[in-house]
């Protein structure tokens, strides 16, 4: 068992970078939140009291505040998709090299994707309640996220049902690649072919003013940092556990 070298980046240990990024990411996201609630104006045309009529549905102003979820929903959604890309990427690397560590990375990336996809679904649910007065709408984005959830769950179900390690890794990699290809196709097709059940009426006059945009972008970067850090921490936990198992096996053998 060899001692693991402390990796450094620009002279500072990577661990320190991770904690630093986590701090910065959390701070940015929190600032985004605070600005969203206290500084950014309510959606255009809405008053602070009473209700507003949106698409023929009376939405109380408590729910108008749920428009603020937008500042959380979009960063989380984009992060989930980015991390899902890494599932496919590490899958490709595994198939190319047959190196087990890529399989571990792909699995962790999928776990992080699952986390962010669930967050996206929940926040998106609140968002649709605000936009269309309904708790669930078979709208292209929500439908695509539903499919993504199913794909990620299918990935784990597939992995759990295979005993052999190499086969599990190979099948996981292949399915990860196909699933990542499927998600944008699903989005494109559901957007291009309108569903005649729920005609999607977009609310006009919604835009982002300067303050809103600034806080939104901050939240975006903050969330991406958090996603990256969650992935890194989880990865380190997994590799440490593997080293521990290897050490135990070496002691017993």
């Amino acid at each position: 068992m060899e001692a693991t070298a402390r990796k450094t980046f620009l002279g500072i240990p990577v661990d320190a970078w991770m904690y630093g990024l986590l701090f910065v990411g959390t701070v940015l996201t929190t600032i985004d939140f605070v600005l969203a609630f206290f500084v950014a104006p309510l959606v255009i045309g809405a008053g602070a009291g009473g209700t507003a009529v949106i698409n023929g549905v009376a939405v109380s102003n408590q729910l108008l505040f749920s428009q603020k979820i937008f500042y959380f929903h979009v960063p989380v959604a984009i992060s989930s998709f980015l991390v899902f890309f890494f599932t496919a990427y590490y899958g490709v690397r595994f198939l190319m090299t047959k190196d087990k560590k890529y399989d571990t990375k792909a699995r962790i990336a999928t776990e992080v994707t699952l986390l962010f996809v669930v967050l996206t679904l929940v926040t998106g649910d609140i968002w649709t309640r605000f936009e269309w007065g309904a708790w669930w709408v078979w709208e292209p984005r929500l439908t695509t996220y539903f499919i993504m959830t199913l794909l990620v769950i299918a990935y784990f179900v597939l992995r759990n049902s295979i005993e052999d390690e190499e086969r599990r890794a190979t099948y996981g990699a292949v399915f990860g690649i196909i699933a990542f290809l499927d998600a944008p196709i699903s989005f494109a097709i559901t957007r291009l072919i309108p569903s005649s059940v729920h005609p999607v009426v977009l609310r006009t006059g919604g835009g982002l003013t300067g303050v809103q945009l600034a806080s939104f972008l901050m939240g975006m970067f903050g969330m991406l940092m958090i996603a990256w850090v969650v992935f890194q921490f989880r990865q380190r936990e997994e590799f440490a556990r593997e080293r521990l198992d290897a050490a135990k096996a070496a002691l017993e053998g």
């Binding site: 794909l151 049902s161 290809l181 097709i189 559901t190 005649s196």
Partner: protein
């Protein structure tokens, strides 16, 4: 042996085996008929004014999906149980050729079952309303969808047959992956069945657009399956 002859050999093996036992076709056909009976159960208490044509295309594709899940699983379980897959791997056949051979075989069986079931479905549910568009349009939509189902289904079934929960895993993998294709072909089929009642004056344009998207899905995913198949079958 050239690739073409390899492909023809695998295809002929599947067809000959099926002609001898007729097991897959009869079970798939019977299953599809049972699904039609369940459909009658589902719509039997609907209002008298209920026009089943609105969901007819969806019901039809649902029957095809369930039937193909059954058929795909069976076609690869045989291979595995009788050691045929190992024999194929030992012989100097290119892996992608195995994929095409099995996929085309599954496509053929699926099309035969559809030829039996679609007229039955029409006879049971659509006699009153009829089709707005010509029959060949519906046939084309069925063909494009079946190609995607057979191709991706073969690849997913090759994976699922090596797992612990065979049918279940196939269904879990199959539905999310096939969702875009099914969505597009249901739209195309509904355009043919219902026409302007659903698509407000330009059902033909919607039909061709949906069919184009379905064909796009087929091309992309089948290319991916072709590239990835040798990893699956070797593992």
């Amino acid at each position: 042996m050239s690739s073409w002859r390899q492909f023809a050999a695998i295809l002929r093996k599947d067809i000959v085996m099926e002609l001898r036992t007729k097991e897959m076709l009869t079970s798939m056909g019977l299953y599809a008929f049972l699904v039609l009976l369940i459909y009658y159960l589902a719509v039997s208490q609907a209002n008298g004014g209920f026009n089943v044509g609105y969901i007819a295309a969806g019901l039809l594709w649902l029957a095809i999906v369930f039937t193909s899940l059954l058929g795909l699983n069976r076609s690869l379980v045989h291979e595995k149980d009788q050691g045929c897959l190992d024999a194929l791997l030992l012989s100097p056949i290119d892996r992608p050729v195995i994929f095409f051979g099995k996929a085309v075989g599954n496509l053929l069986f699926l099309l035969i079952v559809e030829v039996l079931v679609v007229p039955m479905f029409y006879f049971l549910f659509l006699l009153k309303t009829g089709l707005v568009g010509p029959v060949w349009m519906l046939a084309l939509a069925l063909l494009v969808g079946s190609i995607g189902i057979a191709g991706m289904g073969t690849m997913l079934a090759t994976m699922s047959v090596n797992t612990k929960g065979k049918d279940f895993i196939l269904a879990v993998l199959f539905v999310p992956i096939m969702f875009p294709l099914l969505y597009a072909v249901v739209a195309a089929s509904t355009a043919v069945v219902m026409g302007d009642a659903v698509f407000f004056g330009e059902w033909a344009k919607q039909y061709w657009q949906s069919l184009g998207l379905a064909a796009g899905y087929d091309s992309i995913m089948l290319l991916a399956a072709y590239g990835l198949y040798e990893f699956i079958i070797g593992a």
